[in-house]
Amino acid sequence: MHFAKPLAGRTSLALGFFLALSISEGLVVRAQTAPSDVAAGQKLFRANCAGCHKWHGGGGGGYGGDALSLRKTKLDRAAIIETIGCGRPGTGMPYHLRDAYENGACYGLKENDVANGMALAANNFLRPTEIAAIADYVIANVKGRGEPNYAECVAFFGTGSRVCNIYGDQRTAGAATK
């Protein structure tokens, strides 16, 4: 799990233990990836993830903590879904499933196990299908990418803003490459 960096060695060890447990059946959403899912996933990514992981998913420092790079992530789809849903206890990565810690579905932990603030709830909870759409978007458009460029930026923001100005000298670089 590499969405956010561990905050303490003890936490990291504990997390490692829980990661060794199997992912709950209830968390794995086996939705088919369709183009509409990726588009929906981009909107959801922008609303829920871009604050910390940035529009390009590269992460980095900021008031949202030091979010890890989704461009460099090794996680597969199921692990991304789990991380979005369960968060990453002991880090700034919040959980987005409303009942993530009510029945042990996440790492076998229950509410009392995380009551000390180690597991942080997201501002907005997401439905499992929404989480799957974000994961599909990350795999299709973020994971494995190199440096962000103009084409990627415009694909994310559109052309109505100057937000992509700083990539302007890359306009001839063409589409993003994997």
Partner: protein, 586 residues
């Protein structure tokens, strides 16, 4: 002046503006002249400067609403504003502005910089016009560290002068709402945005900049309002070889991305023609080993020559800051015991008094309940007692201080302060200085910054980040300025994110859960409370119209709290964004 007369004069003024080809200085009986700004404290029913007057005391002599009758205060009217839409990394805009009031008309801004003129005569609020500057939401919103914010407007003759988050200074005709001219002052391509209200001094608009989390080199700039040209720009981080550059002891040009933003409107001392302005944190925020040295002029108060922008004096609060304890707060100018003081409530949790004629330290007092980063402030120098001038990288209380060897740590106050931008207020009769306090600790995780690799334009350059597993509350804390001692603390369930207003026997405040309250100026007992139903993150102000006193307050959660710090106040997640002007009367 009645409404019709005001409009008549407005029409005359507009005509003159047009006759001048929109270039000259507008004139008319409603002119906000240099003389009126200098005497703003004497316009009892108006509020014509951002902080009420140049001293930034935010004290009104109006006393129709007082300790004896404030229990009867009620809503006179409300007005829905706009600017709630999101942009960049922000899901919504918010309200942090202080309304201006002149002759019964209010001028308020929303987070995206739209300016509204509201006629308040007759016991109601009627929107006269709205100026929408068409702010580039994504360009600015993607690099605004701490919300979609705009803290208000300034008057100059018959113009209303405002900023936009995307870095413009805009002059709007006060009568028609038409934009007469605008100028790009800050550059979002460099990570610069503007959130503060302009300060008009002489015929200049002074602009501060935000962006220390994005590796900017901070500045304060003066625009000539007659020619629309820049008169001066003073960088808060010296260039190589300039005075102060010796306090950046690294070998990788750390001062080029040294931060030092200036995003809170300063104050002005006419007696010495000195602008007093606070400077923000160094960058990267939490990796101070990247930038050994004291890092002037970050975390400092500056005294600037108003005509040239030249730094006349400085006082630094947290040298080589590893906490994000910036010093952008407004300085309150007061005269007590024969001393001419500048008071600053710092994010590091300490209230400071310095001699505003030369920047010499006078006294300091921690005003927060939890204070762990230093063992205290040296009563002679004003430096933290654990500051070691022989060290390039300060460790303060090393077990607490974030560093490359103490990568996860809890600091008190938390990195939001102490006291953030929400303004203090000062009662010159009681000599009490009221501070809107964030009673906090939070957790900092340090990420080592790599020279030549970590900095990228428009990307966060912070050397780590905060998280908030610990409950945060607040208080209104009063300091007796004659003694430098604490006079009282009224604790609040939530952090003070909106700022204060002082009247002869009251202090007004708002809370992020929507409550607005009036406290007794001496005892700080709550005398009145009202729930607005929206998050309050703006300061109250007061004015008169038709001979009656009103209290006005913008309601609609702004700033960074609900995005970055909400885990410390999880019950505030129920507060929805909004954008409403509330006006109260007896």
């Amino acid at each position: 002046m009645d409404r019709n007369r005001s409009r008549l004069f407005g029409g005359c003024a507009l005509g003159l503006v047009l006759a001048l080809g929109l270039m000259g200085k507008p004139a008319g009986a409603q002119d906000v002249t240099d003389q009126r700004l200098l005497n703003a404290d004497q316009e009892e029913g108006n509020w014509i400067l951002h902080h009420k007057d140049y001293s930034a005391q935010r004290f009104s002599t109006l006393n129709q609403i007082n300790a004896g009758n404030v229990k009867d205060l009620r809503v006179a009217w409300t007005l829905q504003l706009g600017g709630v839409e999101g942009g960049g990394i922000w899901s919504h805009g918010g309200l942090e502005g202080t309304p201006l009031a002149e002759n019964g008309f209010l001028y308020v801004t929303d987070g995206w910089g739209s300016l509204y003129k509201i006629d308040t005569h007759g016991g109601q609020g009627v929107l006269m016009w709205k100026m929408d500057p068409k702010t580039d939401h994504d360009w600015a919103g993607a690099i605004a560290c701490c919300g979609v914010d705009n803290r208000g407007a300034a008057f100059w003759h018959n113009l209303v002068v405002t900023h936009t988050l995307d870095g413009r200074l805009i002059a709007t005709d006060k009568e028609t709402g038409k934009i007469l001219w605008q100028r790009q002052v800050a550059n979002p391509d460099k990570g610069e945005v503007v959130t503060g209200a302009p300060l008009v001094v002489h015929d200049m608009a002074i602009t501060g900049v935000a962006g220390a989390e994005y590796g900017i080199r901070g500045w304060i700039a003066a625009t000539d309002l007659n020619t629309h040209q820049e008169l001066w720009r003073t960088y808060t981080i010296p260039a190589k070889g300039e005075p102060g550059s010796e306090t950046w002891k690294d070998d990788h040009d750390a001062l080029a991305t040294g931060g030092g933003s200036t995003w809170v409107t300063g104050s002005y001392d006419p007696a010495t023609d000195t602008i007093v302005w606070g400077v923000g944190n160094p960058g990267p925020d939490w990796d101070n080993a990247y930038r050994p040295g004291d890092n002037l002029y970050t975390d400092s108060t500056l005294g600037l020559d108003a005509k040239t922008g030249q730094i006349k004096w400085h006082f630094q609060h947290t040298p080589n800051d590893p906490f994000d304890y910036d010093s952008v707060a407004e300085n309150v100018l007061v005269d007590v015991n024969g001393q001419k003081l500048a008071l600053e409530a710092d994010r590091n949790g300490v209230g400071y008094a310095v001699d505003r004629t030369n920047g010499k330290f006078v006294w300091a007092l921690p005003f927060v309940k939890q204070f762990t980063w230093t063992k205290g402030i040296d009563p002679t120098t004003g430096r933290p007692v654990d500051y070691d001038p022989s060290k390039g990288v300060q460790t303060y209380v090393a077990s607490v201080t974030p560093s490359r060897t103490n990568k996860v740590t809890t600091i008190c106050p938390g990195n939001m302060g102490g006291k953030n931008w929400p303004p203090t207020a000062y009662n010159p009769t009681l000599h009490l200085w009221y501070i809107p306090v964030i009673e906090s600790c939070n957790r900092i995780t340090v990420e080592e910054t790599i020279p030549g690799k970590s900095f990228k334009p428009r990307e966060g350059f912070t050397g780590g980040g905060p998280s908030d597993p610990i409950r945060i509350t607040g208080s209104v804390t009063a300091i007796d300025v004659t003694t430098g001692k604490m006079a009282g603390k009224a604790e609040t369930p939530y952090p003070m994110l909106g700022g204060l207003l002082a009247t002869p026997d009251l202090v007004f405040a708002g809370q992020p859960d929507g409550k607005v309250m009036a406290l007794d100026a001496k005892s700080l007992a709550t005398l009145w409370e009202f729930n607005t139903g929206g998050g309050v993150s703006a300061p109250p102000m007061t004015f008169t119209v038709d001979g009656k006193q009103y209290i006005a307050l913008l309601v609609g959660q702004g700033g960074a709290w609900d995005k970055w710090f909400i885990d410390s106040t999880p019950d505030l997640k129920r507060i929805a964004p909004g954008s409403t002007l509330y006006v109260f009367r007896l």
